[in-house]
Symmetry: C2
Subunit: 331 residues, 2 copies
């Protein structure tokens, strides 16, 4: 591994001049620069990142803090974050939170800071994570990917409330009046936003609200909920907070002899890859997870470089109507 001094020797300059070339220092004679560049090529020299991090006190690493499991949405976003970060010249160090206790969060953030990450992308959809983060003096720029319903600056995401309204309005337009919400866990920001969109839509339409069912995002829970809900007769449609629960829900209804959409309509959220292919094809709200990740990186990088944050247009979720919702009603 050649060092900057080896390059200097070959180019017959001081190591300092090499450093200047490396960092695009203005005052350097083109021919000197070329000589250095040639030496660099010749030796296949690569700056030592540790040494650089040591002296600059900051590495070209972006930290990704994730508190979601291996779900489709977050996983897609993380992949996109990773790609976008590399494109900007950053490495990516990921850390998954095993639990969302304040201590675990604290440890994780400290760990990342200790690695001298230049910035942090947080995919921590739980409220408590968000609050802990706000209460921490992190010391590096960070961008939060979780969705919140229109609050302070660090956050950035697709408008979950609007997405949920789309879903529920779709059901209302189909003629449904009694719509149940299969919600996500209480602590999750997305769960709250989607529920609020649900409630807003019902209020706007002067329709009655029914107490929501709290789920855990899993298809297994959806299945369970479907079997339970099938005993009730006070609704004709369900808005599930994500596709996995929606798919499990349909399964549960099927087990109980209820047909979707003829007896009950179901709408999901996320538009996971299987959504169009199951039976019945799932009406859902499409989210562009990769774009979400890219935007987070764009904002973060701007913050790190002290530049103006790019103005990003709204990232609106879109309704994808499929066969799982119709005007059919149970008698």
């Amino acid at each position: 591994m050649p060092s900057i001094r080896d390059v200097a020797r070959v180019a017959a300059v001081s190591h300092q001049t090499v450093s200047r070339v490396l960092n695009d220092h203005p005052s350097i004679r083109p021919e000197t620069k070329q000589r250095v560049l040639d030496a660099i090529t010749q030796l296949d020299y690569r700056p030592n990142l540790a040494a650089r991090a040591l002296v600059t006190r900051s590495s070209n690493v972006l930290g990704v803090l994730s508190a979601s499991v291996g779900e489709f949405g977050p996983a897609s976003s993380i992949a996109a974050i990773e790609e976008a970060a590399r494109a900007e010249g950053y490495s990516v160090s990921t850390i998954n939170l095993p639990a969302t206790t304040p201590e675990a969060i604290d440890t994780a953030v400290r760990q990342l800071v200790r690695e001298q990450v230049a910035g942090l992308v947080v995919l921590a959809p739980q409220l408590r994570v968000f609050h802990v983060l706000q209460g921490m003096a992190i010391g590096v720029p960070y961008v939060s990917l979780q969705t919140a319903s229109g609050a302070s600056g660090e956050r950035h995401a697709a408008d979950q409330v609007a997405g949920a309204r789309l879903a529920v309005n779709h059901l209302i337009e189909l003629g449904h009046r009694d719509i149940v919400h299969l919600a996500g866990p209480q602590d999750w920001i997305e769960a709250e936003s989607r529920m609020r969109g649900y409630l807003d839509a019902l209020l706007d339409a002067d329709l009655p609200t029914i107490p929501p069912v709290r789920g855990d995002w899993t298809a297994d829970f959806g299945h369970f909920a479907g079997r339970e809900l099938a005993r009730r007769v006070d609704f004709t449609a369900v808005f599930a907070a994500n596709d996995l629960m929606a798919i499990g829900l349909i399964h549960g209804f099927r087990d109980a002899g209820l047909d979707v959409p003829n007896d009950v309509s179901v709408v999901g959220f996320d538009d996971i890859p299987v959504a169009p292919h199951i039976w019945p094809p799932l009406t859902t709200v499409h989210q562009d997870f990769p774009e979400l990740g890219r935007r987070a990186v764009a904002l973060l990088v701007a913050d790190i470089r002290g530049e103006e944050r790019p103005a990003l247009g709204p990232l609106e979720p879109q309704l994808v109507a499929r066969a799982s919702s119709s005007h059919g009603r149970r008698s």
Copy 2:
């Protein structure tokens, strides 16, 4: 940020002694050690990782090189890798290959090596990636997660061939004699292994083989393939190389008026979370992706530390029989 010298000052020792305490050097008096430890606690001192990496020429970072997209399996494994690595005291730096060209692979590996990763976990299920890797003098220990059919040492995975045999034997036991394989892309090791398992099972049972259909792992392709296959009458069952394609396939059959499993049986591979909940519930081969990731880390860490590799029992895929396969046949 206190440095090792600050600690030394507080503990009234030399910074060298502090370093010894940090690295569990044997010859150090317990009382001195305690004094240093107290100082460390008092100052909340954390060793600077960049400085350490600079001098030791190796960081406590494991690199993860992934050439798969955001699919369920790899994503689950990566999450597990990350967790296991943290538990062993390593950070994780991930890099996603945008393409599987030798240049891209080379660049990615170099980048990781430049970050002075202590070791590498490679999730690169394509043959070409594997070959490029073998031809590279990487310079750090690495473990390959992709599956190969019983070849050299670096590889490690669940036995895909055996898994595929399970699937096909299941169909044979149900009475099927004409079984089509919806395969994965040609370059993928898993695709080859699963196809080989398929062929082996047919040969063992003295059954005819039918030219396989090459897919791309996506549900959309499965859907397309289903519609195409529905025109043919030379088979009564399909073994799809993964669940997504299987689900799309069932959709395609449905579009064409074919019922699964009454007209055609379908078996998938992976056991993704929705597999039990779709209609018909998908018979598939279960893989323990997280365990795969954990094992990769265990092996890699042993290599890095120069220890004996732990003896890991076989990680056998398991058949999960559900309703998508039955003895039913098309007339």
